[in-house]
Amino acid sequence: MTDITKDAIAPPRSFLSQDAIQVFYRLLAALLICAVLAVLSDSFLSLGNILNVLRQASLTFFIASGLTLVVLTAGLDLSVGANVALSACIAGTVIHKTGSPALGILTGLACGGIVGLLNGVMVTALRIPSFIATYGMLWVLNGLTYWYMAGETLHGFPAGFRQIGSGYLFGLPIPVYLLLVFLGIGTLFAQRTIWGQEIYAIGANPVAARLSGIPVARRLLLVYAVSGTMAGLASIIFLSRLNSAEADIGESLTLPAIAAVLIGGTSLFGGVGTVFGTFIGALILTLVLNGMNLLAVSANWQPLVTGIIVILAVWLDMKTRRRAQ
């Protein structure tokens, strides 16, 4: 009994060195990709391209960081992309109607958070398996967004608002600062707070977590709400960078976010992984897609490559863990 409790509560600390090794491997992989791309393409090392990679990676990271917490509990959120689309369209409408970016940002975050909370209710109160519940939510959100937009495009937002996604501060794009902030918050939350530790415990062994007094349902609600809110944040960055909102902007976002989480070493079976790993995962994926772009490979190839990467990442993860045991 004592052993079970210890296993459930302690894994992040005792795995820290193993986590560090896993992250180190992934950093090496990212550097290797950079080296290859630097040789293959003259424009890869240009400042403009590197900033572009960082900005692109930060967008994937915002969605993937919240998703990481969900996957840590052995769940999955397939609705994040559709959530970004709905939140962006609603936030865009609010900004147009009221002229207030602040109100729009709040609405976008709230919309994302509410959708996440609904996911959490389906998983905890209705006990629907998370991948099916959030997959159903994906289509509900898709339908709502297309119905709400009715084929229209919103565009033209205040210049101040557009700075969030496309502005620079001391030579770095503003999304990169946001990335650093949320990387810090996410890492601190997961590794250094009791709630974070409880999330690891739930993923490692839900029964042991419940028996040791962790309010599992409430933590799961929190995790899905955070995932939704981060999708809301991503929707604001998207809106401000594209300076427009359309119903279909979320369609190509979910698979890359899941890919980033899995490349980053978070296990689909819960309890293992870090937010920092997800950041590296987002970076690796963006580097690969950016490299294809620089080498003039048609964008049509991107879903194919992302799909292969998702499967490879899960397979590698399962293989290394099997060997470690």
Binding site: P129, I132, N142, L144, T145, I311, M318
Partner: protein, 316 residues
């Protein structure tokens, strides 16, 4: 022990009400509010339009019975539909087109089964990965454009009749008969029940659960190939996004039809009624001029309700 045996038996009596009530309620609702819904022309239209979904939902039932899932079916259907269009355009032969669609579909299904059975990747992630791959390949082979000008022999399949019955309906009925025989009257069908219910027993009986699992996913892929022919015939072209999301309607039909996601027992007739329910829902909403976006959302709500009820029943 005795209890376990009772639980694992399919219990149609307990299920018939669920999906039948849904279907009757939907028909009554749209009969009352949608003008022209109950006309013979419209009802036969609902049935013909449900044929493609039938071909996906029946194999999806088998896959879900193995506690699996195939999210790639819609994307694979899109790809096979394009293959049918491209090959039949190049060779002017419907059969060669169908052969190409079957081959590509079965190949994708086999890869799905291999990822799930041999590599042990959770089905929803494995098939999410192959969804991306099939979607990418669709864009690549079509270069993002529609494939038009396909031969008459392909087009005619959707509009032709056999003894007064539309050919797509004949194909769907034959498919249903095939799956019914396969699941309830062959040893393979018994093994499928065991794949979801008791995989260890298969191993003790000297059978390879992995090979059976691959076969189940391969059947799903092959059916997406046949459905691809119908899709191309119906649209009179191949389109790189034609079937995206159809897997969700298939999952909805299976869930509404009373097949359980966690206990490995499935019911094919329930799935068929589920397919018609989804078809009626979409057709009815269409008749009262609600856009397809609302139809998509309402199918999502239907699935969540069905799963919630399924969860309630499993706890009762």
């Amino acid at each position: 022990m005795r209890e376990a045996a009772v639980v694992s038996q399919p219990n149609p009596l307990q299920r018939i009400p669920g999906v039948a009530i849904v279907l009757v309620l939907l028909i009554a609702l749209f009969g009352a509010i949608a003008p022209g819904f109950l006309s013979v022309a419209n009802l036969s239209n609902v049935l013909v339009q449900s044929t493609i979904l039938t071909m996906l939902a029946l194999p999806m039932t088998l896959i879900i019975m193995t506690e699996g899932l195939d999210l790639s079916m819609g994307a694979v259907l899109t790809l096979t539909s394009l293959c049918v269009a491209i090959v039949s355009l190049a060779t002017q032969s419907m059969l060669l087109g169908l052969g190409a669609g079957l081959l590509v579909g079965a190949a994708f299904g086999t890869v799905n089964g291999w990822l799930v059975a041999i590599l042990g990747i959770p089905p929803f992630v494995a098939t999410l990965g192959t969804l991306g791959m099939a979607q990418g390949l669709s864009l690549i082979v079509s270069d993002g454009q529609s494939v038009v000008g396909i031969p008459h022999s392909v087009r005619d399949i959707y509009s032709a009749t056999l003894l007064g019955v539309p050919v797509p309906i004949v194909m769907a009925l034959v498919t249903y008969a095939g799956f019914h025989t396969l699941l309830y009257h062959t040893r393979f069908g018994t093994y499928i029940f065991a794949l979801g219910g008791n995989r260890e027993a298969l191993r003790y009986a000297g059978l390879s659960p992995n090979r059976l699992l691959i076969a189940v996913y391969a059947i799903g892929g092959a059916m997406a190939g046949i459905a691809g022919l119908l899709m191309t015939a119906r649209m009179n072209s191949g389109h790189p996004t034609a079937g995206l999301g159809l897997e969700f309607d298939a999952i909805a039909a299976v869930a509404v039809g009373g097949t359980s996601f966690e206990r490995g027992n499935g019911w094919l007739l329930g799935t068929l009624l589920g397919v018609i329910s989804v078809g009626v829902l979409r057709n009815g909403l269409n008749l009262i001029s609600l856009p397809s976006s609302v139809q998509v959302a309402s199918v999502g709500v239907l699935v969540i309700i069905a799963l919630f009820l399924d969860g309630l029943r499993s706890r009762a």
